[in-house]
Structure formats: structure tokens, C-alpha cells
């Protein structure tokens, strides 16, 4: 019997009150964004935001609780943009969106940082302080392929070496994480800028390196469309993911179904079911139907776990709609019970 789990890869919008407070405290310009050593009122405000985001998820009834990643000014590039060995360059476009992040220019060895582990410790304390026994922590990191894709290498000098160094760095970060049930590795670049023919294994090796650093279930979340079939096959076979996350909102879902029918699937699966980039809130019944439709298309429809997720991060949405999307996911698991 497949377990259905409502979860998200985090990276939520700031509550509206915090948008104003933090912009007053930090400023609006490129140089005012987070460098990772904040203290005082800024750190306090982020603490309050974290508590609010954890509450949002518990209230919605999600099965996993993310830290919310409110500090991630640069979205999934965050673990690098706050790193000591990284200088931030100009503001560059974040995938095909009207959003921008600071270009992380890696200028020295990527040694241990602990920035994300610190956030997760704080989130774990918040969860322990509630009665959220059924909603353990989900950690989020960029996948090594996407993080290397978003960054500029000015130190390692070789693509393969750079990707491996990023994977080792991320693995080191994961080892410092507090106990977590699930680790989401976000890999949109696998869709938008897939590895060149013949270099797929380098990407899957990098992912496997990070996955090996945790005992938790690892979800490799791909989004902004369907995966190329050859790359899909590599990911299923080599990435050591417990679940591959597939975007059923953007792009052609027939392609995604074809991949699963042709090449099989990971033991568990994550389905991007609610649109993280549109304010239209899906009915729980619609979300549930999408799950059943997909599971029905898969030849061995016997996933250990099906994760019900948004297709992307949720920071694109206004506050009220982000909350509504969390509720839709949680309610959909109840429809399926």
C-alpha cells in the first residue's frame, strides 16, 4: 500500500509584515542582501518568520515540515552566496522567471559552512516544541548539478572538478544536519539545461554523493517541465534517490508518463501537483485525481511512498495563496485515504 505524504521543498514567500521589516533593516540594494553573518534584529526577525512558517505548515496539516528558507535571498543559490569562498557578482536572471539572484563566483576551496544546518537546528527545535509528532523535518538543498549550473567557477578551472567539489561541499553540509526524515535536492537545471550527451553520469554521481551523506529519504525534485528520456533513465538508475520528483504542472506530462512507462521509476515518487507559479488554487479532489491518474499510468503502480508536492518552490506566490497551496496538498492526502 503506497503511503501518500504531503510535503514541500520549502523556499516560501516572506510573510507580508516581514517583507517590510526586513527591507527596512537590510535595505533594497544588491549589497544589502544576506551574507550569512547577520545578527541582532535581523536574526531575530528571521527567527520569528521561521516560527510562523513552521506554524503555517502544521496548521495546514502537511506530513513533513520544511524550515521555509526565508533567509534564502538568492533562492537555491543561497548555500553558495553566503559562503566565505564565494564573491557575489551581478544580479542575474533566475531561470526563465522575472526573478533575480546574485551570481555566486566561487574563488576558493568550498569547505564546510554550516549555514543551512544552523537553520535546520532552529526549525527542529520549533517542531520539538509543538505536538507535531507526525510531521518530522524535511531538509532542502539545491542539487549539485543545479548549484554548479547557477554558479561561476573562478577557482577549480574544470567543469567536472567543480561539480564534484560542489557535491562534496553539499554532502559535508548534509552531514551536519540535525535529524531529518526527508531531504529535498532541487534540480531544475536538469530540465532547463540538461547535461551534455555523455556527461549524464557525472551529474548522477554528484547527486549520489550528496544522497549518501544522509540516512533520510532523498527526493531529487526536478521542475519547469519534463525530463529528457535518456537523462531520466540515468537518474532512476544511478542517482541513489529514494524518489525522483516530477513536474506534472509545467511542460508535457505525457512525456513524463512515457519516461516512467519506458524506463521504470524510483522506489518512491514525488509528484509536482500544485502550481507553485500560479495563484489559482487547486481543489484537493483535483490534486487527488492527478495522483491516482499518475499512479494508474505507472506499470508497477506500487510506490512505497508518493510525495504530493508543489511543482516548484512557493516564493513566487503572494502570502495568502502560498498558504492555500499548502492546505490543498494536505487535504488531498485526506481525499486519498
Amino acid at each position: 500500500m503506497t503511503e501518500r505524504v504531503a510535503a514541500t521543498p520549502g523556499i516560501y514567500p516572506l510573510p507580508d509584515w516581514a517583507k517590510g521589516t526586513l527591507s527596512d533593516l537590510k535595505g533594497h540594494q544588491k549589497g544589502d542582501l544576506l551574507s550569512g553573518d547577520e545578527g541582532g534584529e535581523i536574526a531575530e526577525t528571521y527567527g520569528e518568520v521561521r516560527a510562523e512558517l513552521v506554524d503555517d505548515q502544521l496548521e495546514a496539516g502537511l506530513d513533513r515540515v520544511a524550515e521555509g528558507q526565508a533567509r534564502w535571498d538568492d533562492m537555491i543559490a543561497h548555500p553558495l552566496t553566503v559562503h566565505e569562498s564565494v564573491e557575489t557578482g551581478g544580479i542575474v536572471r533566475y531561470y526563465d522567471n522575472n526573478n533575480f539572484y546574485r551570481d555566486p563566483r566561487v574563488v576558493d576551496d568550498l569547505d564546510f559552512s554550516g549555514d543551512v544546518a544552523g537553520e535546520l537546528e532552529a526549525a527542529a527545535d520549533l517542531i520539538d516544541g509543538t505536538n507535531a509528532g507526525d510531521a518530522p523535518l524535511a531538509a532542502t538543498l539545491p542539487g549539485p548539478y543545479s548549484l554548479a549550473d547557477l554558479a561561476t567557477d573562478e577557482h577549480y578551472g574544470d567543469d567536472a572538478e567543480f561539480q564534484a567539489a560542489i557535491a562534496d561541499f553539499l554532502a559535508g553540509e548534509v552531514e551536519a544536519f540535525p535529524a531529518h526524515e526527508t531531504l529535498f535536492l532541487l534540480e531544475p537545471s536538469l530540465v532547463t539545461n540538461p547535461p551534455a550527451d555523455g556527461t549524464e553520469e557525472r551529474a548522477t554521481d554528484a547527486i549520489a554523493t550528496v544522497a549518501a551523506a544522509t540516512d533520510a529519504d532523498v527526493v531529487v525534485q526536478t521542475f519547469y517541465g519534463a525530463l529528457d528520456e535518456k537523462l531520466y533513465a540515468h537518474l532512476v538508475d544511478e542517482a541513489d534517490a529514494d524518489a525522483l520528483g516530477l513536474d506534472l504542472v509545467a511542460g508535457d506530462r505525457e512525456d513524463t508518463v512515457y519516461n516512467v512507462q519506458e524506463y521504470g521509476a524510483t522506489e518512491s515518487i514525488a509528484l509536482g501537483l500544485v502550481d507553485g507559479q500560479n495563484t489559482l488554487v487547486e481543489e484537493p479532489e483535483t490534486v487527488a485525481e492527478r495522483v491516482e491518474w499518475f499512479e494508474g499510468q505507472a506499470p508497477a503502480a506500487d510506490f512505497e511512498t508518493t510525495y504530493l508536492t508543489p511543482n516548484t518552490e512557493l516564493f513566487y506566490l503572494p502570502e495568502n495563496k502560498y498558504r492555500a497551496k499548502l492546505s490543498a496538498l494536505a487535504a488531498a492526502t485526506e481525499v486519498l485515504e
Binding site: P13, L14, D16, K19, L22, S23, K26, G27, H28, Q29, K30, D32, L33, D73, I91, R93, Y94, D96, N98, N99, F100, Y101, Q277, N278, T279, L280, F315, Y316, L317, P318, E319, N320, K321
Partner: protein, 357 residues
């Protein structure tokens, strides 16, 4: 198919224009708001204040009068009110078009947010959007007034689409509404309308959608009305020469910011609409000297002859300190007048404009 820019350009030449050559000078639209206007915008939200909506309307009128006159004082041939009544280029129109709703701010980058609206039902036209604003400005102005309107592609793609099966369909419906608005503006006397489509720069592969939308916008609009299209911060090799098929009189583009590296893109094949060239940077807080701006104007002559060249800042100037915005505008006009005189005197070879005189 390009419209007929030579049929509408001369009406903007001032009676007392000093030179035979005429480089039409204009602005993209937005201009720094006087600080007191920002305070007034906040004050009206304050429940403890006696300052109310009618006071704010008066403040907006005052600011529009002030900036229109500031444009005239800088010597511009065509003027704008500096968009003193507008907050943001999508929000302002979404508030006036039925079918949009607002849910709150979303992140663009860092702590910069935008109240990105959602289209929740078919869009429709209710009250005119800009006719009152145009009538006010044209009454206080001595020079012809240009009206900037955010284009349907940007109004569609910079919103959440909840209602249409494709955003392309939404864009075409919006284009029909823009057409209705342009008709009303023309009835009110407007002769210079600029469609702003910054979103095209981020998704140049959609140029055909923008072309189809423009066809709808200009449907039934006489050729004595000048229709411009403003785009900024893009890779123009991806939309040129397709621009030549757009039904516009003038293409307005920022190239000063990129040091005119993209000028060769427009040299071949022959550029068909008039070129409105950005000759001062909208994102540097130093006023360019007249001599430097004259060099920038010569870059435009590589693409079109003087009778097809319009002179403009790169983009709206609203993010600059006001005295810098004024200085840039004033120097820009002075540079245009000097280049005209040099063309008249044969000191600039318009076929080889970068050659030393």
C-alpha cells in the same frame, strides 16, 4: 508591416525650431516624483491625517503640471507628465481593467517586491484609463503630449493567469482593450502613443505574439497618430529583423547602457520604422556631457537617416535623483540641437556619421 512614420512626424516640429534638420526629442515616460508627492501618497493612507483623496488628487495635478513644465523647460519637443499618477507599470493598469485582482506583493529579487495581480476572469473595459490624465496634461502643456501605455504582452505575462487556457489568448484580449483606449485617447486629441513592452526582452521568442497584439492595437488608428513601441534591456538579435514587420511608426530602445554594442544588429537589413534611440543612461547618476551625448546620437545615424531618428533617454528616469534626471534631459536636447546644426552645415556626414568632421 511598418506604419507610415513620415506621415506624422512633422506635426511635432516646433514652429520656432532653429534648424532644417529635426531630430524629434522625447522621453520614455517616468520621471522622479517630488519627495512631497511620495509623502502625500503615504499621508492619504494615514487614518489620523486629515489629508484625503481629494487633497491627493490636487497634489497629483500639481505634480503633473510641475513635471510637464520641467520637460518643456528642458526643451523637449514632446512631453509627458512624468507618470506622476502611476505607481507601477502593471499595477496601475490592472487596477483599471476588470478581470484583475490583487493578492499581495511577490518577490522580484532581494527585498524588491511587486504587487503582481491575478487575472481571475475575462478582462474587460470599464472606464477610460488615461483620458483624464491626457486631457489634464495637454491643457497645461504648450508642447505635444506623448502617452505611454503598458502593452498587453507585459500586462499579460507579468500577471498570474488563472482564467485563460493560454496567456497568449489573454494578451490578445488585452490588446483589444488597449485598442479601445487608444481610440479614446485619439478622440481626446492624442497624436503620440507609446506601447511599453519590457516583458518582450525577457522572452524574445514571443515576438510573433507581440506583433499580433500590435496589429489589434493599431486597428482603425489613423496614420496621423504616431505609435511607438518601447522595449529595454534585451538581446535584439533575437527580435530583429522581425521588428520591421511590427505595425508601428517608431521603435524605442535603450542602447546607451550597453555602450551601443548592439547597433550593428539594426544596420542590416534596412531599419524600417523610425528609431527612437536612448542616448543617456537611466541607471547612472551622473549627467552625461553634451559632447558625449552627441557621439551617442551619431550611433543612431548609423541605423537611420536624421529624418527617421528620435532622441530619447534609455528608459524611464524615475529611479534617478530629480536634478540628475533634469540635467540629462536638458543636455540631451542641447546635444540634439547641436547635431542638427552640424548636419545642416554639412559637418556630419550622415552616411558615415562616426567619421571625424
Amino acid at each position: 508591416m511598418v506604419r507610415n512614420p513620415s506621415a506624422n512626424r512633422e506635426q511635432f516640429r516646433p514652429i520656432d525650431h532653429p534648424n532644417d534638420s529635426f531630430l524629434l526629442t522625447t522621453v520614455v515616460g517616468s520621471y522622479p516624483k517630488p519627495k512631497w508627492l511620495n509623502r502625500a501618497d503615504e499621508l492619504v493612507e494615514d487614518p489620523d491625517s486629515k489629508f484625503d483623496e481629494s487633497d491627493l488628487a490636487e497634489a497629483h495635478d500639481d505634480a503633473c503640471r510641475l513635471i510637464t513644465h520641467e520637460h518643456e523647460r528642458a526643451g523637449l519637443d514632446t512631453v509627458v507628465d512624468g507618470e506622476m499618477r502611476r505607481n507601477e507599470m502593471v499595477e496601475f493598469f490592472a487596477e483599471r481593467i476588470d478581470g484583475y485582482e490583487f493578492n499581495g506583493p511577490v518577490k522580484v529579487w532581494g527585498h524588491n517586491y511587486f504587487d503582481k495581480p491575478s487575472v481571475v476572469e475575462e478582462v474587460s473595459y470599464d472606464e477610460p484609463w488615461l483620458v483624464d490624465e491626457f486631457e489634464f496634461t495637454t491643457n497645461v502643456a504648450e508642447r505635444p503630449v506623448k502617452v505611454p501605455i503598458t502593452g498587453p504582452y507585459t500586462l499579460g505575462f507579468w500577471a498570474f493567469n488563472e482564467a485563460y487556457s493560454s496567456t497568449e489568448e489573454l494578451v490578445y484580449d488585452l490588446a483589444d482593450l488597449v485598442n479601445e483606449e487608444v481610440e479614446k485617447l485619439v478622440e481626446a486629441g492624442a497624436r503620440y502613443v507609446q506601447i511599453d513592452e519590457p516583458a518582450l526582452a525577457t522572452t524574445p521568442e514571443d515576438h510573433a505574439i507581440v506583433g499580433e497584439a500590435l496589429d489589434r492595437i493599431v486597428s482603425g488608428i489613423d496614420e496621423d497618430v504616431r505609435i511607438g513601441l518601447h522595449v529595454c534591456y534585451g538581446d535584439y538579435s533575437r527580435i530583429y529583423p522581425e521588428i520591421n514587420d511590427f505595425p508601428i511608426d517608431e521603435f524605442d530602445v535603450e542602447l546607451c547602457n550597453g555602450d551601443y554594442e548592439q547597433i550593428p544588429t539594426f544596420e542590416d537589413p534596412e531599419f524600417e520604422p523610425d528609431l527612437a534611440l536612448g542616448v543617456v543612461d537611466a541607471h547612472t547618476a551622473e549627467v552625461e556631457p553634451v559632447e558625449e551625448i552627441k557621439e551617442n546620437i551619431r550611433q543612431g545615424l548609423r541605423v537611420v537617416p536624421p529624418e527617421k531618428l528620435t532622441i530619447s533617454p534609455d528608459c524611464g528616469l524615475k529611479l534617478l535623483p530629480r536634478e540628475i534626471a533634469y540635467g540629462k534631459t536638458e543636455n540631451m536636447v542641447e546635444a540634439a540641437r547641436q547635431v542638427e546644426a552640424e548636419i545642416d552645415a554639412g559637418e556630419i556626414d550622415v552616411d558615415a556619421p562616426l567619421a571625424d568632421d
